[in-house]
Symmetry: C3
Subunit: 203 residues, 3 copies
């Protein structure tokens, strides 16, 4: 993957994550500003927690692109309200692509530091992919969805393990990234399609 391609996919992921935040804020009847903020935090929250834990400057603070992606998502939800319901399948695909790429970015940012063991990179990849949705649910005052429905965060962890196995096997970066992303995409896609979830805890 060349640099521009990753950037584009990352913006698409940000856009799709922001759509999910704005739509859920709309369901709770937030005002426009609140919906925008929830969309933004859904999109950049995971990467921000990762960067704080790794003591890096949060990635969105030096470019306005993520604010603009969120603004585009916000406008889409306002303007194309009805149509968006119909393309929710497309949005799900974008969202899942975003998830795949966020995990890969999180893993690579951690490995580049040369400070931490591989299992931490897997955790950081999963935080990048999944923590934004947790923050969204905390702000909306609902129980975090990703802990109860369909496989989501665990797909990130499995993707991280695939990345690790590829590295051990000595595959090149592009192949490793592609295999990781494909694996996460496939797990998430089939989990949603066939409503597969992890076992629930018994009380």
């Amino acid at each position: 993957m060349n640099f521009n391609f990753i950037n584009w996919v990352e913006y698409i992921g940000t856009f799709a994550f922001a759509i999910s935040g704005v739509r859920m804020a709309a369901q709770q009847r937030f005002d426009w500003f609140g919906a925008y903020v929830v969309g933004f935090i859904t999109a950049v929250g995971g990467g921000t927690i990762r960067d704080l834990l790794l003591d890096l400057p949060p990635f969105w603070m030096n470019t306005g692109s993520y604010l603009l992606c969120t603004a585009a998502a916000f406008l889409c939800v306002i303007v194309f309200k009805k149509q968006i319901e119909k393309v929710s399948r497309t949005i799900f695909i974008f969202d899942t692509i975003g998830l795949c790429l966020f995990v890969v970015v999180g893993i690579e940012k951690t490995l580049e530091l040369n400070l931490y063991p591989f299992w931490l990179a897997i955790i950081m990849g999963s935080i990048t992919g999944a923590a934004g949705g947790i923050l969204r649910d905390v702000l909306l005052n609902i129980e975090p969805l990703i802990f109860r429905k369909e496989i989501y965060a665990s797909a990130c962890v499995i993707g991280g393990i695939v990345y690790w196995l590829c590295s051990i096997a000595g595959l090149n970066t592009m192949l490793t990234q592609t295999l990781t992303a494909t694996c996460i995409f496939a797990i998430r896609f089939f989990a949603v399609k066939y409503k597969i979830g992890l076992p629930l805890m018994k009380n």
Copy 2:
């Protein structure tokens, strides 16, 4: 504004923010310690998130003043419970003054670093002013008020834009600060007086 004046206004703002935190904790029947903690987090939470994002040491960690302001607010709520209802208009004025100054402080702390674009300073000013209230509502397990009622966080953003326009126009610091604060104060004051809010999202 000279240094001592800003300090005094900042303590008044901290006091007013803490009052709002302690009173809302009382409504949820928290215990004394819990109410104090919620008051403190309401008062310093926004600035703390700002400092973590900017990689600065959190501002309240080197002086006990903010703990003492919160203690004073806590005692006032306990001792003057009945009277406080009657001066709630005065407390609203303090709270709004605190908001104005917190936004100005947040903008200037960011600009001083010479690392970030102006739009980030506006965001940091808004986080300084508004994020403490969000943390308060998350701890109280209610939906963040600022996303649903009256203009609050958006007043911070507009104030930040005023600050930016003043800088472009080359006004001196004191005038810039005064105009920014006046603008935020006016928006918030009239929004509450005439119950003006942003449009709500449609579900």
Copy 3:
């Protein structure tokens, strides 16, 4: 206390904190992955917030021990579900021992930096002990328990004050640690035994 002894007690504390997180997640019918994550955040959340505020690398990022302690706690809850109810008294003892040691560790990590006043070390000790439980309750979307029931966070603060008085009195480290831990343990133990709580706020 020698180094290995502290480490062992710390792992026991982590284990007990994780048990409480996993069990409460089970009560909300989270899935397995969600319960594990909640357990982990309950155990390491307080120390992580402390390290972020002090600008230190989060303590769990360089050793897998805390992940493994949480995994052990998770397996225990799954496998020994019924028996765990019967030993809940033992788990309470572990949990309280963990609390004592977390507070001592938090105080000492802060003092070692030689950057901050003593009252901040007391706050950091209390955050280390109590903030994990707050994060747990936020994720479970319930009101933070420690703000409403029995003495918990306030025991941490009193323990911190004991540590401070011992330092002033010139006691050696081991005696200071022991007295602090004993004091926290005793307050918590008798508060739970006799259902002693702080006064609640009046609305």
